[in-house]
């Protein structure tokens, strides 16, 4: 059984495998598939609770993943400043070759869900090698 402590390594291999065999589009299609078929818990939380749902989702996942981060939760905005991404940390620690577009999955996976409910989702990659980034969500003004 691939343990959940080995999952990041397996996913990184899956991205590399898909890209090598079928091209980058296959990797992006896979991320879209994951967003539609796996992240239904995030979808339900954002649909029901909006920003509070985002805070609930990421507090749970980032705590379990032992991430180092700061979270800001406002009435119309939500922000995560990732100081040490746990996925990047695991790959650096195990000295594995990271899929060059690895960090992009956090854009595709979450943007698709969050923007569906009237928010603007942006991710800024500050240091991909060390897993530093910033996710900003704002309520769209109409």
């Amino acid at each position: 059984m691939i343990s959940c402590t080995e999952f990041i390594l397996a996913y990184n291999e899956l991205f590399k495998f898909l890209h090598k065999r079928y091209g980058k589009k296959a990797v992006i299609d896979f991320w879209i598939y994951i967003s539609d078929n796996f992240l239904t818990n995030l979808d339900n939380l954002v649909k029901e609770k909006g920003i509070a749902g985002m805070a609930e989702y990421w507090t749970h996942t980032l705590t379990e993943e032992k991430a180092e981060y700061c979270m800001e939760v406002g009435k119309t905005h939500f922000r995560i400043y990732m100081k040490k991404c746990p996925s990047v940390g695991i790959m650096n620690q195990r000295k594995v070759k990271k899929y060059p577009y690895y960090c992009e999955h956090c854009d595709i996976l979450y943007k698709k869900i969050i923007e569906k409910y009237g928010f603007d989702y942006r991710i800024r990659f500050i240091d991909k090698n060390n897993g530093v980034c910033e996710v900003s969500v704002r309520e769209k003004k109409y």
Partner: protein, 143 residues
């Protein structure tokens, strides 16, 4: 006490298997698992070559304890047997309500086969995915 780990990853992996098999065929999934095994278990393979079956026993104890599995390991002459009565991956996926890929157990079959090939051992698995139970064996080729 069971350490807090992000068990939802098992669900994401299951969706990944389903995607590969559905879109590119089961052969592609098998090939991916082979590549994955050689990469992720590189260090374990080295340890098995050096220490023998004890390295697998240590690894099994470590991950299945961490995951809170119901399991038992038996040692016989030249043989190591793992009996899982509640697979932590399957039980979590079912509990949370994620879909379980219909051949989720393929991961253990392919990974154990690759580990055996790389270390000169023999591997055997019998599993009942619906019940989340399996018996995994590693044996020395020549006894």
């Amino acid at each position: 006490m069971e350490e807090k780990i992000h068990k939802d990853f098992h669900g994401a992996l299951s969706v990944g298997f389903e995607y590969l098999a559905k879109k590119f065929g089961k052969k592609s999934l098998e090939e991916f698992l082979g590549v994955c095994a050689r990469s992720i278990y590189k260090e374990l393979i080295k340890k098995i070559k050096k220490e023998g079956l004890i390295a697998i026993e240590k690894y099994w104890n470590e991950i299945f304890s961490l995951e809170g599995a119901k399991f038992k390991i038996e040692r016989k002459k030249g043989e190591l047997i793992l009996k899982i009565t509640e697979c932590p991956a399957i039980s979590h996926i079912v509990k949370v309500g994620y879909p379980v890929y219909d051949d989720f157990c393929i991961q253990c079959r392919v990974i154990n086969r690759v580990i055996a090939e790389e270390t000169g051992l023999k591997s055997e698995i019998s599993s009942d995915q619906k019940k989340g139970r399996c018996i995994q064996k590693f044996k020395k080729e020549i006894q």
